[in-house]
Subunit: 249 residues, 2 copies
């Protein structure tokens, strides 16, 4: 996986104190297995905009996103681009027994990855029912999220698309802080307007207009361009349609 670029190698220490221990691919792993993972793992940091995986390129390592946000891109020859996945802390990047990635993974914020060399990880997962089970579960969740996104791209209006994205971001933030999305918390938007557009299948101009329109209609507040607050949860949810399952993105 990883690009050849030089990177900071940091060490967070032991798996037991890992912030994504409860949700990542290792969440079903026994203490004994954790010792094995601990020995094989290494950390790597990426800058915003830095490529983590190249489209169609063979990848030599794979692992979990510890912190930050990663976007998976696919593009057509003429340059049209679509974000096909948005990954957050605890999501897994790369696939065992498939050296070639069908998409490009790019850090959209500063990112920390917990990585394994491909052969080492393939050995580990081959011998571990816990890892296999968790990976299957996570893959099924991603598939559900991707299918929800198909509905968004195939059938929703620009306004509805943006509402759906904002709800996903707000739900994540609320869950993290242990509050309700209706509590009026400030939510950071980790993506540029361009990335949002690529995610929603729109142009940046349309995205921008929908932001202003939602603000003008009192659905959201925009303290600054990269932050929003939900002013009217009901309307936002109504606009987004019934994709409660989208949290996985």
């Amino acid at each position: 996986m990883m690009a050849a670029a030089p990177n900071l190698i940091s060490d967070l220490g032991r798996c037991e104190t890992c912030p994504i221990r409860q949700r990542a691919i290792c969440s079903y792993s026994s203490p004994a297995e954790l010792v094995e993972l601990d020995k094989a793992k290494f950390y790597r940091d990426y800058e915003p905009g830095q490529e983590i995986v190249g489209e169609g390129e063979p990848t030599t390592s794979l692992g979990s996103l510890v912190s930050g946000v990663v976007a998976l891109h696919k593009s057509l020859e003429d340059g049209r681009r679509q974000v096909v996945g948005l990954l957050f802390a605890s999501d897994f990047i790369g696939r065992p027994f498939r050296p070639k990635a069908p998409y490009e993974a790019v850090a959209v914020t500063p990112v920390k990855m917990c990585l394994f060399q491909r052969p080492a990880f393939e050995k580990l997962i081959s011998e571990s029912a816990a890892l296999q089970r968790r990976l299957l579960e996570m893959t099924l969740d991603e598939l559900d999220a991707a299918r929800d996104w198909l509905v968004l791209l195939g059938r929703k209006t620009a306004r509805e698309r943006l509402a759906s994205l904002l709800l996903i971001l707000a739900r994540r933030e609320a869950k993290l802080k242990g509050v309700d999305i209706a509590s009026g918390i400030e939510v950071q938007i980790p993506l540029t307007r361009e990335s949002i557009a690529e995610f929603l299948g729109l142009t940046i101009e349309t995205v921008s207009r929908q932001f202003t329109s939602l603000r003008r209609d009192g659905v959201i507040d925009l303290p600054d361009k990269r932050t929003f607050r939900i002013a009217d949860v009901e309307t936002l949810q109504e606009l987004a349609g019934e994709d409660d399952a989208l949290d996985d993105f």
Copy 2:
């Protein structure tokens, strides 16, 4: 999974002679395991249009598509519908350890399923690395296909979308018959214009217009409404863009 409607129960006999033995979830299973599967399985037929799985409903059985075509639908409250997956022979429907389906599965042609009761199958897969491995592999393939479809819905024109679908159908047919897609074979279109529209994120009128347009431009022949022949493979592939991975749908 299964709807309560009465259905023909047929028996194809033993797994060894099963037409999807090489590609289905059981393809890594040992002869010993096959004996177990053989005992637990049962067959069920569905008519075109019949619901196999209800959206959001608990499903009591799950299994492989032996023959026919199944479409997975998702819809918004106001009735807008999107096909989020198209399944062919050997594809798996339903997920272990997740009783509730996030979509509706509908037979679009006459369908034969090889089914298992949910508890029985969950026991089988829990104890079988071969089944787990294959299910993971198939799920990853579906995820890739779904992501390719995201590009289609997010970025492709109506003409390009139809070209992509026709290529998928043609590749399947060609593979099955062991010929090249350029060989000018007749390909059946198992979907109505409406289903095509729901799959491509378009209206039936636009789909229809694109069919006529592709025919008029000499890219395809249309012997009848439900059959086509590729007249100009290069152009069709060019239109579809570089999604060679779409075969999985």
